[in-house]
Amino acid sequence: MTADVSEVPATRPVPSGEVLLRARDVVKHFPVGGRSLRGSARDVVHAVDGVSLDIRRGETVGLVGETGCGKSTLARCLTRLYDLTSGTVEFEGQDISTLSRRQMRPFRRNMQMIFQDPYGSLNPRRRVGSIIGEPFAVHGLADGADRKRQVQELMELVGLNPEHYNRFPAEFSGGQRQRIGVARALALRPKLIVCDEPVSALDVSIQAQIINLLSDLQSEFNLTYLFIAHDLSVVQQVSNRVVVMYLGAVAEVAPADPLYDTPRHPYTAALLSAAPIADPDQAEARERVVLIGDPPSPVSPPSGCRFHPRCPKAQPDCAVEIPQLLPRQGDGAEHVAACHHPLADGERLPTGGAVVATVVGPEAEPDRPVEPGAGSGEPSGPVTFEEQP
C-alpha cells in the first residue's frame, strides 16, 4: 500500500537476467553514388560496422553518439526494419537476421519503436483511437468495442484523456503526441521497445514527464528498452548500461555510473566533457575537452581506431591496429572499451584551446587522418590539438 512511486533506487543495478536480444557482428552498409564507367563496385557508407551487443530482459540500454554514428541504423537493424549486410541478431534465442517479412510478423509484436518526431510519426489524417488501435488491426487482435476499450485503457495508462479517442494528432501538443506514440508502442505488450530519441524534440519540462512515464511503464510491465539519445544526462538518468558508438563501431560499453565516473575511451570522456551542465559552479569547475573538427566520413573510415584522427591521446599504433572491446585498466567484464591507450582512473584528457588556434595554424586540417610518424618511435602527437596562443 505504500505508494512510493516517487522513490527510485539511487543506483540502477544491472539486471543479471537472460539475454533478450543478442547481436553479433552486425554490419550495415549503404551503397552511395552511381556506378563508375567501368561498372566497378560503388562506394558504401559503413553505417554500422561490426557491432555486437546483448540486451538483457528488463534492463535499459542507452545508446549514445554523435549524429551519423549509426545509432539509429543499428536500432533499425536490431528490429529488422533494415536488412543486415552481415551478422546475426537473435531474439529470445532465435536467429531473426534472415527471416522474411512474413516470418518476422510474430516477432514484431514483441519489438516496438518510439520515434523522435512526435509530429512526423503520427498520420495527421487519422484519429488517435485508430492510430493507437492500429497494432491490433495489423495483428488481427481485439476488434470493435473490445479494441476501443483496450485503446482507451492504453490512453489512460500513458496519461491521455480517454475521451479524446476521436481527436486528430493536430489537436495535441508535442508531449501529448509523444504519449500517443508510447501508447501505440505499448499496445501489444511488447518485450522490447526501441526508443529512438524519444524526448529530443520536447521541451525540458515535458521531457521529464515522458522519462518518468517510460520508467513507470518499465516497472509495471517489465519492459526492456533500447534508449537512443544524444543527451548524455538523459541517458545516464534512464539507463542500466550505456553503449557509446563512434562512426559505426562501439567505442565503450559500461554500466551507467562507471561510464560517467571513469570513462576509459577518450571519445567517451570528450563527449561527457562537452555536455552542458545546468549548474554554473560545476560548469566552471570542470575542464572541457573540445574535440576539433567533425567525425570523418563513414564512406572511408580511418584505419585502425576510428577515433584516432581526433583523439588527444593518439599514438602511432592507433592508426594501424583496430582496438578490441576488452575490459581495460582492471575493469570488470561489464565495462569494456575499444582503445589501445585507455584513460586511468581520474586521468584527464589534455584540454585543447584549439578552436581559434586554427587562425594561427591554418595548416591543421582536423578532418584528415593523422599519419603516424613513420618509423620513429616518437608519437607524432594529436595534430588536432594545439595550444591557444
Partner: protein, 367 residues
Amino acid sequence: MDLLEVRDLHVSFPTPDGLVQAVRGLDFSVRAGSTLSIVGESGSGKSVATQTITGLTRGAKVTGEARFDGDDLLKMDNDALRRVRGGQIGMIFQDPLSSLHPYYKVGWQIVELIREHDHELSKKQARARAVDLLKLVGIPYAERRVDDYPHQFSGGMRQRAMIAMAMAMNPRLLIADEPTTALDVTVQAQVLRVMRTLQAEFGTAIILITHDLGVVADLSDDVVVMYAGRAMEKANRRELFYAHHHPYTEGLLQSVPVPGVRTRLTPITGQPPSLVTPPPACPFNPRCPYVFDRCREETPPLRPVDLSPKHVSACWLPTDSASRVEARDALAARRATAAEARAAEARAADGAAATQADATVAEAGAS
C-alpha cells in the same frame, strides 16, 4: 544607459483562431559587452520578442519601445532598420542550413553582406575580409573553403559560417536564437567557445535565446525566464541557478537531469498555455505547485527579490527568503495534510501499523 532597452513590448498576431498574444508586456535590457540569456519553453515568446525588435515579424501588431543606443528600433523605417540589422546587430538562427542560401557560395554570401553595409569596400577587399572572418571562427583552410557551397560544410561549420557572417560588420549586439540546438554536444562546445572568444575579443553584447539550461549556465551574465509572453524572473546567472524565486524557474531546473545524480525527475505538470486565451492573473497558476487564491485573481508584477535590485520575480510568494520558505512549507504542509487524510483512510481500510503511516506522511511531505 544600456546598449538595448526594451520597454513594455507587446506583440500579437491575428490568426483564424483569434489574436495570438505572443509577447505581453516584456521589459529587458542588455548591457554593452554582456550576455543576456532568454530562456523558456516553445511558445513562450522568446524568439518573437527578439525578431520583433529587428523588424522580422511582419503582420504583427507591435507596441512598446526598443531603444538601441538611444534610437527606437520599433519606430525606424525599413531602410534605417536594414542598416542596423546585419551592421550594428548581427543575428544567428537555429538552423544554419536554411539560413544560408543553398545556391550561392558561402564566401559570396558573406561578401554580399559586407558590401551591402560598406559601399567603399572593393569586391577583393570584401573577399579578403570574408576569408579572415572564416579563419576567425575556426574554419580550416578558409582560403579554399570560402568557395564552397553551404552543403559542402558540416552542421557545425555552417553555424560557424553564420557566426562569421553575423560578426562581419563588427556588430555591437549579436542575437543568437537557439544557435546550438541543432548541433551535437561536441560541436555545440566548439560553437559556444567561438562565441565566447569573439565576445572577449570584440566586446560584442549577446542575446542568447535558448531552452537549454546547460548553455545558459555556460555562457550568460544575466537571464530572463519567459512564460506565456511574460518575464517570470530576471536575475544574474548565479541568482537564477542558486537563489531563484519563481516556481516556474524551479520547475525548469528540476526537470533537467543532473549528471551523477539519479533521482526521479520532477516535471512541471500539465501543458504550456494557449496564447489565444492565456490563463488570467499569473499565467503559470494552472501548473504551479504552490498556487494559492491570489495567483488566480491578480497578475503579479515583477518585484525585487531579497532586496536585490537586479533580481526580480513575478510571483506572489513572499520576496524575502525566510518568509518564502515559510510560505512554501505551509503550502507543502497543507498538501501533506490532505495526503495524510487519504493515507488514514487507506490505513483504516487495511489496518496497517502506525510506523508505516509515519513513513507515508514523511514521504508525502517530502514529495
